[in-house]
Structure formats: C-alpha cells, structure tokens
Symmetry: C2
Subunit: 451 residues, 2 copies
C-alpha cells in the first residue's frame, strides 16, 4: 500500500525514450502523417497533442484529475503467497490490483483524464464504444464526475450477454446503444447487409466516431489502442515501481493481458524505461487471447482502427479490420489491432507476446480466485495464466524469479461466463492461419508489405 500522496504527478511518455518512434498516424486520403490539429475536430485537443508527443518524457497530470484518482489510488500491490504455495514455485508472484477502482478496472485512469480535458475545452457531450463494458462504465462515471453527457455504443453480443454492465452505465446516467445500431450510417450499412451481426469493437468505434463527427460540442474518446490512452495508464507502473522497491524487489518479468494495449502499457512502460535507458533486462509479456492473436499471428501493416474505415491509418500489428473475433468472454480483448507504440516495441524486440486459450484462462482464474480471493475479469485471467506459466517454468528450473502482473479488473459482472466454465460449456478458441490470411485480404491488406 502506498499513501495517496504517492500518486504520480506526471504520466510517463515512453515515446520520448523509444529509439525508434512509433509509425505516425496517416490520413487515409492523402497518405500524409497527421498533425495534432488534424485531430482536433474529433478528439480533445490536449489528447491529440499527447498522441503525437514524442519529445516530453513526462507530462504533468492536472490537479483535478489527480484529486479524482485519489478516490481509489494508489491501488494495492499484492504478493500472491497463496498462489505461489498452490503452484509450489520458488518464484515470487506480485500483482497490481487495479480491480479496486470503483468501476472495477484500470479503465478509469484514462476516463478521468479524457473527461477532464473534454470539460476544460468546452465540450458538453462525449461518445465512445465499449466491448465487455469496463471502459463504458468507467467513462460513464468519469463523464458524470465532470458534468458531461455520454453516449456509449456497446458491442451487441456484450449488450445481450452482459446486461448488467449496461445497467451500470445507465445508473451512472449514460445513454447506451447496442452496436451495430440503426442510429448511424455505419451501423445501418452493416445491419442491412447482415441483420444478425453481433457487433465488434471495430464496428462500435465507427458508430461513435460518426456520432462525434455529426454532433455539435461532442468529442470522441477511446479506452485503449491510442498513445495518449497508454500514457494515462502509466500511473499503474509508476506506483508499482515504488511498491516493488518497498518490497525490496525488482521484476524479472512483467505481464499484462492484451486487447488494445492500455493495461499492458500501464504496468509495463515505467519498467521498460529502465530496459531502454539503464540496461535492465526485464522481460515484458503481453498475453492475448488465442482467438484474437494479432501480436503472435498478425502482420505489421498500416490498417484502419475500425470496421467502416473512419479512423486514420495506424501502423500496427493487425489481423485486418475486417477480422470478426470469436465470441469469447474476454470482450475487452476482442480487437483486431495492437496500437502504434506496442507494435513498434514488439517489432524492436522490447516486448514478447503469448496467446492463451479461453479454457486455460478460466482455469487460471479459478485457481487465482481460490487462492487470492478475487474473481478476476476474463481479460485479466489471460495475464494470470501467463504468470502461472512463468512460475511453473521457475519450478522446473529452480529459479526464484520475480514476476509482476497487472490484475486489470475483477470479474463480478462476468459470472455468467464462470457459470458456463463450471458447467463445461466453454471452448478454447483459436484461429487458423488460413482465416487470418482471408481477413487480411478482405481488409485490403498485403502481408508481403509488412512494415
């Protein structure tokens, strides 16, 4: 535990320290790199500036944001003694517990920052997409905290499977629409072709972007993927670094689950800084679902961030924006691409990736719940599974490595998934090379032109 006075006063901007910078966002029409001003019509201006800031190593956290963060931060760093015992491993396993945020996940770290900037800049309405609903719930609360109205497009499969996350958003006062919907051109195009389309994050992003573009005083905000979102999450790793120091340890391995990159970046970047600048040799492992394996099986290409092609082009590991992920319960990880910074770091060998099948993630979650008393979010369970793998390797080798993973959220709203797991009704997931080749082609992408 750290006192709230130890909440970081600035975000760590890894772009400043990267030997090779991430590929810039491109205007799909002209092929030119975007400047911050080009994004002002859609994004909060300060977020757009942070997005392209490759020079400032630290960016100050506004006082008012820090005050709201103090409501739940600093979050605890916990040594998972009982999990270690159950695994009979010499490894020391630590986790950063982001599930204690009032909305149950790390997502609030960026939601508060983005809602603050929106209000400061005179915006009255914000809109976004959400998968499983962790981001939507966080933003709905953050918007209310700063006096804004919110419209959330929620992936239809989650809207139906997880009605209670919808209720949470509505209780916070948000308008929630199942996506694809008939409220946007992008949604109508999909529904008229495929009335039973279950939606995806890529589709929901298209709808929210369209709403922002066509509504006065309305900005679009995003919960992952983009550089400024990863930036806002670095409070996690900065706190963890101090807490590990208090415990007299430094991690040999840092692990986060991986959807678009927000929680992984948050825990990893402040430690990764020391690999880049101080010659530390920590390993960083992104744990993605086997059914959406962009880091382990995707190609490094310029691609759209959404299904309709409304976003700028991002240089990223992608399965193609036409990729339709399987309906796994880790809804927050069902995204086809990986974010520019992470993609560059993966390409340059600073981070590694593993893919985890759904059954393995739930087995890890169950063991974690029994030993540590927290029901993890299906997303976070991927990080747990990867941590267990590493701890078991330590058991074989006899090494007492220090493993740190990010518990990005709790799974109390995901109990229907646990029910299905207990009943034996879940499958592992996974996607074939042929399927990936097909969706890349469908997305108009040529793997031979990888960056």
């Amino acid at each position: 535990m750290l006192p709230e006075s130890e909440i970081p006063t600035a975000w760590y901007n890894i772009q400043a320290d990267m030997p090779n910078k991430p590929y810039p966002l491109l205007n799909p029409g002209t092929g030119e790199p975007l400047k911050a001003e080009d994004m002002f019509p859609i994004f909060c201006e300060e977020c757009a500036r942070q997005e392209v800031n490759t020079t400032d190593q630290y960016i100050p956290i506004p006082d008012e944001v820090r005050e709201k963060l103090a409501f739940y931060r600093c979050t605890p760093l916990v040594r998972a003694y009982d999990l270690e015992k159950a695994l009979d491993t010499p490894a020391h396993i630590y986790f950063k517990n982001e599930s204690v945020s009032p909305v149950g996940s790390h997502k609030l770290n960026s939601a508060l920052a983005q809602a603050y900037y929106a209000r400061e800049e005179g915006t009255t309405n914000i809109t976004t997409e959400t998968g499983a609903g962790q981001w939507g719930a966080a933003l709905s609360y953050a918007a209310k905290a700063f006096g804004l109205e919110t419209a959330v497009y929620m992936v239809k499969i989650s809207y139906e499977q997880k009605p209670y996350r919808r209720s949470i958003m509505q209780t916070f006062g948000a308008t929630v629409t199942a996506s694809p919907s008939m409220s946007t051109r992008a949604g109508k195009d999909i529904i008229t072709k495929d009335p039973n389309n279950q939606g995806s994050l890529g589709t929901a992003i298209s709808e929210a972007l369209e709403l922002a573009r066509t509504t006065p005083h309305c900005k679009y905000v995003l919960g992952s993927v983009l550089n400024h979102v990863c930036l806002h999450q670095t409070v996690i790793g900065q706190e963890a670094e101090k807490q590990m120091e208090m415990a007299g340890e430094y991690p040999d391995i840092v692990i986060g689950c991986f959807g678009g990159g927000s929680n992984f970046s948050g825990i990893a970047f402040p430690f990764l800084k020391h690999n880049i600048l101080d010659g530390k040799k920590t390993r960083f492992i992104a744990a993605e679902p086997a059914s959406c394996p962009k880091l382990t099986k995707g190609v490094y290409l310029y691609d759209f961030g959404d299904v309709a092609g409304y976003t700028p082009l991002l240089g990223m590991y992608t399965l193609g924006h036409a990729f339709q992920p399987a309906n796994i319960h880790a809804g927050g990880l069902r995204y086809h691409g990986a974010g520019s910074i992470i993609s560059r770091l993966l390409k340059d060998g600073y981070i590694e990736a593993v893919d985890i099948d759904q059954l393995k993630s739930f087995a890890a979650a169950s063991l974690f719940a029994k030993t540590e008393g927290i029901i993890p979010a299906p997303e976070s369970s991927h990080a747990i599974a990867a941590a267990i793998d590493e701890a078991l390797k330590c058991k074989e080798s006899g090494e007492a490595k220090t493993i740190l993973f990010n518990l990005s959220g709790h799974g109390l709203i995901d109990m229907s998934a646990y029910d299905k797991y207990l009943a034996g009704d879940l499958t592992g997931g996974g996607v074939s090379d042929e399927e990936i080749a097909r969706t890349l082609k469908e997305s108009g992408l040529d793997p031979s032109k990888a960056l």
Copy 2:
C-alpha cells in the same frame, strides 16, 4: 487512507462497557442461560467464549487473521464532496468504504476470523446460510484461505434472483444449496407443507444448523446477529475513528444499514464507546428496510433465531421467527430479529432506528452512484438514504454536522435490481401492524410480555 500497519490489533468488545448487559442466550428446553461450553458442539469454541464475554474490553486479533485482513484493509474513509454538493448541504458527509474487500462487502472481516478459529480447533468443514450471498461469498473465500470445505444454504429466492452470487461461491469452491432444500429435516418439513416456499434467512439457518449437528468435524458459522460477529466487525469503526481524526473531525451522527447488526455494530461500537465512557453525544442510527422493521415496529422478547426453532432463545427486538419478509432486493436485511447487544442498546436509548422504503433506498443509491462513482449494495443504500435525510435536515437548519455512514458493500452483483428500479418495476415495501401482530402470534410470542 490508513497504512496496513494501522489495522487494529484487537477487537472492541462493547459488552464490557455496557451499563446493562445484553440478555443471555437461553436453552429453550430448560430456560437456563447458556454457558460457552453449551455451544461448543455447534460453534467454534473461541467464538462461543467471545459470545458470552462481558468482561474483556478488547480481545486480541490473531496474527494470522490480521495478515489476511491486510489484503484489503485498512479500507478507505471518503468524504462525499460530490454528494454534499448535489444535496447543497452544509453537512460534512463521510463514508467508510467496505466495498473494496475482494468479495465486495464487510462480511469478510468476520468470515476470516471464524474460518481461522475453525481450522485452529481441528474442524474440516463449516456450514452457514446466506441471503443475498454477500456472507456466503465471504465465507467461501475465507474457508478456502484456511483450507476448509464449506456448505452454504442460500435463500431460494436469492438463489434464483442472484445466480451470480451462487457462481461466485462455487468459483471459490463451496457447495451451494437452495433453501428450503430436501437435504434436511427442517427443509423437508417446509417443502412438504409449502412446495413453493421461497425461503428466508431463518429457514436457511435451520438447515445449516441441522447439517452441523449431524455431520462430524463440521461447525456452524453465522454472518450477523450474534455478539462475536459484531465484535469481529469493530475493525471498521476503529479504523474510521483514526481516519476521522486525521480529517480533523468527529462524527455527530453515525449510520449503518441494519439486517442482523454486523455492519452497523462494526461502524458504531467504537464510537459508541465514547458516548458510554466519555460523555460524547454522537447519534447512532440503524437504517432498516420498511418491509422488515424489527427495530421500529418489533417487540423486545425472547425468540428463536431461526424458523425451525433449533437456535437458543435470544432476547431481541423481533417480528417473530415466523415472519416472512417481502422479496425486497436488500436480501441481507431480510431477517426477523436484531441481535442481543443492539436490542439492549436500543432499549437503553443509546441508538435510534429508522425504516426506509425500497424506492427511497434505490433513489438514494442512484444519486450516490452518479456523485461518488460507486454502485452501492441495495442493503447499504438504506444507510445512504438515512444519511441523505440527515444531510437535508442540516440544509434546513443550516447546521454543518458531520455525518459518517458505512458503505457495507457494492451492488455490482445486484444490477438486476437496478434494472427493475430504472424500469419502474419496484415497489416500496412496508408491513402493517396487523401483519406483525399476526406473525408474533404465529411465533408463539406475547407482545404484552416485552422485556
């Protein structure tokens, strides 16, 4: 925020300081007061000793229990600035946030203690009842943490309405049975008379007690009502006292929701000590549901704690053990009686009680969610409603009173109730004097013989 080093080292035993002691438990056969030894066959021995301990002001918390408490304690004390602003009140409103425990409520404070004693005394199995499932979830985890097996009887209406709390218990490894069930004599008696009986805490207690009596190495544990449970919860108020001091304040009013007494006692007793010993004039308000109003409309009598009449007789405010509470969503408050200590304190004027109707509790919960970002448990919402009432009185009188309430848990597993509230499908609840007179009679109780 307090560091974990400030977790109390002893529980505060208010029995030692009470001018009039609570009425002793009676053997229903002989009418004789029970000694600790009489309870050893059913309860953990140390818990039985604590139950009747009217002399030791403080009882040390075992180190191993304190270590497990450190996993989530000290819990935050939060000033509800945004709620104050929304109410436009000069009052200072603080809440102790017990919802940050890994199982989402204060219940873990006693579950860990009881599971510890069970293991220390060589018990391998424990059993209990649960209403909404907060206690069952806490005990399931605590049992696993100390290597015990757990069987939970869950009130049938909650088992069906809140399947996800059931899943949580099962994920922690517990056996969960809907009560009334065919697995006990008590359950069979009820089902054969009334096949559609929806259950109650009183019935579930009967079933768990029967299982404990008929199973070797199995003890019965309880999540509320009894003196030793209230004792274990005093970590809440002891921390809050230090935290209020850090904030430079002392509460004029302390509020907790009220089912059997565990969270109310936890927040109230350490402050009430100063009313008894130091002449402080703090008001203590127990907020109970209008549909189960034992403190405001019940009678102070000796009554059974369960439906089947398996328990000792308790001297308490009761609606009669035959009382069948309405199916309100605050399942944890659906209990007919009030606990011996609380009843004595109410009788002697140390505490007050108010009843809150269900619609009012959800209106308060919605305002709290929008302002403070936490979805409260339907139980805790009764405390919020009472706190809002007091804050609005301050607005009228212009007094800047300091109000402290206990947020006993979050409501993330209760979103179906919020859905119904948002849809206008909930009713207020309430119970007539005639109905209470009828159930007292049915329970064999004579109101004219009140203690």
